[in-house]
Symmetry: C2
Subunit: 94 residues, 2 copies
Amino acid sequence: MFKELNPLLHSELRLAIISTLIGLESADFVFLRKQTGATAGNLSVQIEKLNKAGYIAVEKSFKGKMPHTTCMITDEGRRAFEDYVDAIKSYIGS
Amino acid sequence: MFKELNPLLHSELRLAIISTLIGLESADFVFLRKQTGATAGNLSVQIEKLNKAGYIAVEKSFKGKMPHTTCMITDEGRRAFEDYVDAIKSYIGS
DNA sequence: AAATTTGGTTTATTTTATAAACTACTTTAT
DNA sequence: ATAAAGTAGTTTATAAAATAAACCAAATTT
């Protein structure tokens, strides 16, 4: 009847991150912050969770002397998102 | 860009409850338990939250001497659900 | 009549989300 | 040159949520 909602994706901010990344080659911390409207702390934590789960790849470098974090969705992340979309539809019936 | 997800509905169990009730005249505790697969305690708590928010109406009676809880979605609940569906679509793009 | 089941509620615990505080460095104004 | 403010984050503390476990009252089964 109702499909299970992957709790890692069933979070407003993490869903927004993945949803943003799915349409893009990659996105950096600042861009994600603007897109999602999240605070830096919250974004940092949620990026870390998605990274740990293998749903996104995170690359930390320096742009000049400033830190720079780039995120990219992985194939696993893409699959998980597709599954989530499928699951949530069992609730909203679309 | 991304619409806000009403936190009261952005909960697997509460969403399942509302989603069930939206298609029905009413449903009782036992039925909701079966549909959602939730534990009684969890269901009890989440029904109470939806009730408090005005999203569902709850009627407690006795069937013989056994307690019997009936739930019905309210107009407010219906509207909130529609808004939620609309909002979640901004993430899943359907 | 003891044990189990039914239909719940209440309370306690764990998990999660979020905010606040902090670090490290850079840029701007004085 | 130095203080103040801004950027790009991370870490830690707190609040809120979900969930499980314990419980209650009545009914049913053994």
